[in-house]
Amino acid sequence: MNERELITKAQSGDFDAFIELVDTHKGKVYAMVRRLAGNRQDAEDIMQDTLLKAIDKIEQFRGDASFGTWLYSIALNQARAQFSKSQQADLRPIEDYLPMNSTAGRHEDIGLFDWQDPHQALESQQLRGILNEVVAELPYKYREAFLLRYVEELPVKEVARLTKQSEASAKSRILRARLALRDKLSRIFEAEYGKELS
């Protein structure tokens, strides 16, 4: 049965059809929610609220986008509602993350450590832990923009639409998030294995 047929059946009250739709997309939606939330408990709550909301609104789904995209939008709204009030911190201005001319004397401030390949120096579990931690530390609006753009691989225009921002603003958030993550990773990797490389 194709997606359209499953949706029609679900909209007429067929629970199994709804579950089949959910089963197709839940792994990907959960992975995104897990990263957005930064911790397992919040991720589970958001996932639960997302699917309950999908049941409440199933008749409103018109099929303009795929069922997966629709679930994504609901999950994003749920996550934003949960985090936007509590995590309004901002990142440093872009200039603070830049390599400066040596005459500006600020090399030490920005940690321009050449990581090379962190997989060579760190266990994969340790590396995964570091990555989860640095992403979770980003203020929510930056984390959301970064993950949508680079992990979900959505175009900037779509990130802007989903986050209800102008394209310029979405682009700026994506850049700042990427710079901030690079900066954090650089400092951590330097502390973890910098001496071995020098």
């Binding site: 009250g13 992975a31 639960q48 309950l52 321009l112 050449d114 990581w115 962190p118 995964r128 992990v151």
Partner: protein, 83 residues
């Protein structure tokens, strides 16, 4: 006037994502060729995305799966009636 490292920063993401004109691309690459800091910056920015993409799929914990299935069925039955 010659550009300095900070002048390139707003274009860097576009450059890394392949969204700059061939002229600007050549200009950035010429700069990276001469500037060690910017070369490291570009390499590590690229890796930041590559690393974060790893582990893109994450299965739902089993306990969550079980809890969800029962909660969803309950909500479904409230909405559509038991079948």
């Amino acid at each position: 006037m010659a550009k300095n490292c900070p002048d390139y920063i707003n274009d860097l993401n576009d450059y890394l994502d392949g969204g700059v004109s061939p002229e600007l691309c050549a200009e950035i690459e010429a700069h990276i060729g001469k500037c060690q800091n910017c070369r490291i910056m570009v390499d590590t920015l690229k890796q930041t995305v590559t690393l974060c993409r790893e582990g893109k799929e994450e299965p739902l914990p089993e306990a969550l799966e079980t809890r969800l299935r029962s909660l969803l069925k309950q909500r479904w039955d409230q909405k559509f009636g038991q079948k």
